[in-house]
Subunit: 408 residues, 2 copies
DNA sequence: AATACTTTATTTATATTTTTATAAACTTTA
DNA sequence: TAAAGTTTATAAAAATATAAATAAAGTATT
């Protein structure tokens, strides 16, 4: 075997330490020893090597807990970088982060229609490559590319069955055409990941994150890890049968949550209401599409427009009924309202709670805390970065970097 | 430190091997090496020690897969025993198994009313102790006691908040008063465990098991492990809001699945039907309680009684609607119909499938297989035994046994 | 039938990891 | 304020696990 391969097993622990320090800010050798169930000398050796290799720096002494103060270590922010990409049906965002999740280049936003757009993948690839070039960061310094996007995604194969057809594995295509290991996942899943690692649900192990967008998504954290189900379609909250009647959904059924309470549907109801002469501060030009109205509606509600609030309350109550079902089945510690609609979460809160009181056994609703995202619109980008680091201990990145380091 | 403690870490691997061989029948050193990510010499050493200690025996050669045939090892059936206990509200079952899940003593069944019965715990403890004594098996040879029971259970503390108040930890009480480490869990959870380890859902990682009994329970296997939720109440399928109206449930709400489709409710509907003169082979004496009627109804349905089948079909459709919701959220590989009602599962199957077609997105229902338990009424007892062995690698049992062995 | 290739098992030498002992730095108790 | 107890860190010795080499027992190929 080549000498390069000899170190894989040994560098495994080092990758695990880097990953942990990315998530945990700072830790002591003793803490890492407990966490990984390895002896302190083993940890100390790995940490010292990582310091010489430039991945880890000392981070001062933590307060004593009754004995000698532990020397803390943290990851060196500029040792590596992470490229995060967030896509929705119309828009793409690209942002480069360092290992402390600080942006190291301006965010790039551009229009990218995913549906029926054969050029979308080429455009995205070019934009990523030129963004990296403009940033001045060497590709070898980028730990990976994480991409969040709508659609039905096979994470292990790296395929999105709905958008961005790469004639096989999308991640393989992007890895090849950028030279950087790429990971993809569902947008709602990444938002959940962000909330659990760096957001309002930090360190919780049972978290349900509602992605209130044009649709209604659900990201599930079970046992501290993203849960995707057997074929990757878990969390289809938006199409459970909520009521027998109700308007017809895109999926062909009646009574779906998405057909009753998504921001898009609420916007359409607003347009109808205006046509029927409802008193509201909202205006509607016939050539506006629903998404523009949606954004306007959220702002109007926050500014106290009664009609907008009424529409949102109605949606909130239905969302609450769905959450009651979710609580009964999953018994989560936390439900987080996140995504685009998070900015009207305070208005939604009251009707949601009302529905929970009506439809939940108290013993169950008592065990779940309902929270509003603080990451807001950044959640998906941060989740995309987290996705890269979640896979870091399985990749051989650190080994490669180390190899170049030791030669240099 | 005492010399006894020195071996704990080393015997960890041996306990893991015993546990694996309990679940897997027979494995080779190479297979165990792959599984535990340990070198073959390490595994071989541990296996040889376990053979000398009497826990493991050779199990012949497996067919070649293109090279030297592997020598298989299996656990020695009579090296240890497991005591399984299954309780419902009225009846207790006790059964002693060997390490191949074969009964080594006759099953003991006795009446044990759990509700408002201050003596229940004492009676159970005495029955367990005398059962073991009668079996002639030394207590030191029993790896543990596993108990499945209804109620709201804190597994880690070993407390059942509903029944068998032990003024603290029920498992601690029983461990002390029997001298054998005791574990408890919810009946539906144990049925799920049994189905996943030794039943129709063997080796599946995403399994939902419906416990069709007097109530409707749900045992969830997520990521290959029992899922209990944040406060242990996950899987409350029976009280999700299914319909706006519907009969009033014990829980105080309307439209609960349990109030519409549990075997107890179906039996009550049968009694009402008979009173109203419905044509049926079923008879009803006014002093019969619903549970007797329930058993009779299941048999009548299996014998072709139209009225019984009609009632069950009605229940099946409602169960199907609930399963549709479950599939949307969990996207399981398998749903198993188990418990007392499993014997009419074939009758339930058609209306359940019908409801799934109506309420499920095809993409989701396609990914889930609906199966009927083959373990039937034995599932809970086997699950109780599995519970003991699931905890085996965390216990120090094997070390103790080994110690006594090496002295002898 | 002979050769090449696989997979499994065993032995030995090497590498790694953990224990143990010692020291350092700090808190708590007497 | 001194003594005792904690927690963390480091350096040596001891234990342990692994990799490499070799052997054994089979299948597949020519």
């Amino acid at each position: 075997m080549e000498p390069e391969n000899k170190g894989i097993k040994g560098s495994q622990l080092k990758n695990m330490i880097i990953k942990r320090l990315y998530f945990n800010k700072a830790m002591s050798c003793a803490g890492l020893s407990d966490l990984f169930d390895k002896s302190i000398p083993s940890i100390a050796k790995a940490v010292n090597e990582l310091m010489h290799e430039g991945f880890v720096v000392e981070h001062g002494y933590a307060p004593s807990s009754g004995g000698r103060r532990p020397l803390m270590y943290s990851v060196k922010a500029n040792a590596m970088y992470i490229l995060a990409v967030a896509l929705d049906q119309l828009t793409a965002r690209i942002q480069l982060f360092d290992l402390q999740n600080s942006p190291v280049a301006d965010m790039l936003t551009f229009e990218l229609k995913l549906l029926n757009n054969a050029n979308a993948l080429t455009i995205l690839t070019n934009q990523i490559n030129s963004y990296i070039k403009d940033s001045g960061i060497a590709k070898g310094k980028i730990a990976g590319i994480g991409i969040g996007m709508p659609g039905f995604i096979n994470v292990t194969e790296g395929i999105n069955y709905t958008y961005l057809d790469a004639n096989g594995s999308l991640t393989a295509y992007l890895t090849e055409h950028t030279g950087i290991t790429t990971y993809i996942d569902n947008d709602s899943s990444l938002i959940a990941l962000a909330e659990q690692k760096f957001g309002i649900a930090k360190a919780q192990t049972e978290v349900m994150v509602i992605n209130l967008g044009w649709g209604i998504g659900l990201g599930m954290i079970v046992n501290g890890k993203l849960f995707r189900g057997h074929t990757g379609f878990a969390g289809e909250l938006s199409h459970i049968p909520l009521s027998e009647d109700g308007s017809l959904c895109e999926c062909g059924k009646r009574g779906c949550l998405e057909a009753e309470a998504s921001m898009l549907v609420v916007a359409q109801k607003a347009i109808e209401g205006i046509k029927q002469g409802r008193i509201t501060s909202l205006k509607h030009n016939t050539n506006d599409h629903s998404k523009l109205m949606g954004d306007a509606l959220l702002d109007a509600a926050n500014n106290g427009d009664q009609f907008a609030i009424e529409l949102l309350s109605d949606a909130g109550y239905k969302i609450g009924k769905a959450l009651a079902i979710l609580i009964h089945i999953m018994n989560p510690a936390t439900i987080v309202l996140s995504g685009r609609g998070a900015k009207v979460a305070k208005i939604l809160m009251a009707p949601i709670q009302q529905a929970l009181h009506k439809y939940c056994i108290p013993r169950l609703s008592k065990g779940t805390e309902l929270l509003v995202s603080e990451l807001g619109f950044d959640a998906e980008l941060i989740g995309a970065a987290v996705l890269v680091m979640e896979n870091f201990d399985k990749s051989v990145k650190a080994k490669v970097s180390k190899a170049t380091k030791t030669i240099a």
